[in-house]
Structure formats: C-alpha cells, structure tokens
C-alpha cells in the first residue's frame, strides 16, 4: 500500500502453533503498529486462532507487553497463550 507498512514476524508455540500450522507467521501492519493492532489482524487472518486471542499475551524481546506497546520489524515478537508449565 505504501512504504511505511511494517513487516512483523510472530513466533507461535504449542496450541497456537498447532492451530496455525506454522511456528513463525509474517504479518504486515499499517502504522501505528501496536500489539493491539497485531491482535486484531491475527484474529482476521487466522480464524482458527481467533477464539484464543482474547486470552493471549504478547512478548517483545522476552518481556510481556501491553496492547499499547509499539512494534518494529526488528522486534522478536511472540504470542503467548496461558502457560501450563510446572
């Protein structure tokens, strides 16, 4: 659309990876690229993930971030469904 779109890659694990069928997915966002915008885009593009997304957290560079957090194409982004270790 324009040169300012932001290409992101998002890592998926466990249930999210199994549903999407991929462990890394590419997503292009118009600015402003935020976690909230990514959450909405994933819900549109991946109907199989959509019911889980309200429960998902996102991590950037190994830290949990809020929906307001800005995203860049260099960021290591991960979708984190409720964890069940221990």
């Amino acid at each position: 659309m324009n040169t300012t779109t932001i290409d992101l890659s998002v890592r998926l694990f466990a249930e999210a990876r199994d549903r999407a069928g991929e462990d890394v997915i590419a997503v292009r966002l118009e600015p402003p690229a935020t976690v909230g915008a990514l959450r909405r885009r994933l819900a549109e593009r991946y109907p199989q993930l959509e019911p889980l997304l309200p429960y998902a957290m996102f991590a950037v560079s190994h830290d949990y971030v809020s929906d307001e957090h800005p995203l860049t194409s260099e960021a290591e982004i991960a979708l984190i469904l409720p964890v069940s270790g221990g």
Partner: protein, 161 residues
Amino acid sequence: MTAVSAAEQSMEKKTTVQLTTDPIDPARVVTQVTSVDAGAVVLFLGTTRRQTAGRATDSLDYEAYEPMARAKLEELAQAAVSRWALTAVAVVHRLGHLIPPEASVAVAVSSPHRAAAFEAGKWLIDELKKVVPIWKRENWADGTSDWALPGINRPAEGATS
C-alpha cells in the same frame, strides 16, 4: 581485595536456572544450593500425575519458548534473592516427553533459616506457573491429547494449587 572478589563471585553463583530434556536429578539440584552459609534447604518437586480431573494420562509433552523461559526463570530467581535472605536458588524445568510420575520441575532454595526458604520456594513455583512460557500437552489414555491452557480448557492457575 581477595575477600571482595570472593564475595562477588558467590553473589554471581547464587542462582541457577536450567531447561533440560534429561530426567531431573533431585540430589543434584539440592547440591546446587547446599552451602556452609545455609541452615535450611527446601526442595519442591513437581511430579506428573496419572489422573487429572478423573481422566487418565499416559504421558505428557512440555514445550518452552526457550530464551524467554530462561530469562523469566532467572528474573524470578533474582527477585526471590532480593526479597528473602537466601543463600542460593536453583530451578530446573524438564522439557520433552514425560511418563508419570517423572518430575517436570524442581525448585530448590537454601537460606540461613528455614522460614525464608519455605516462603521463597512456594513463591517461586507459584510465579513460575503464572509467567514462564512453558506449555504442557496431556496425552490421554483414550488416545486423544490436548495442550493445557489454564482459564480456557483447564481451571485457572491458582484454582488447583
């Protein structure tokens, strides 16, 4: 000068975190926190159950977002060291395929006096279960399997602690 270097070195060695596909050796985890400075060692072992909510489990698979899981474990261990008077903390989480009753997690804490070790150990396992990006898939005896997602297909964390 020598004394200061020794103290710094022991500070650096205070916490150990590990993800492993090998069986957890509880004696080794205890050894990692045992010290002449400690009067107490508390070990928590999380072991895999055969029965969950009336269903039989044949085996489990654990998967982690490894770099973040290590970072979060280290963050929790450091937070425990700041909050309680601890001598050492060691946390090991197993990954891969487990057969009940193999241990999935070990948390060992040492401290000069026992209260701090008990409190910190409980806090560490409770926090680990909330924030460390590790997931468990239960392979049921009836041939089906699913990833445990607390609050979605399992009771919310805390409900079954």
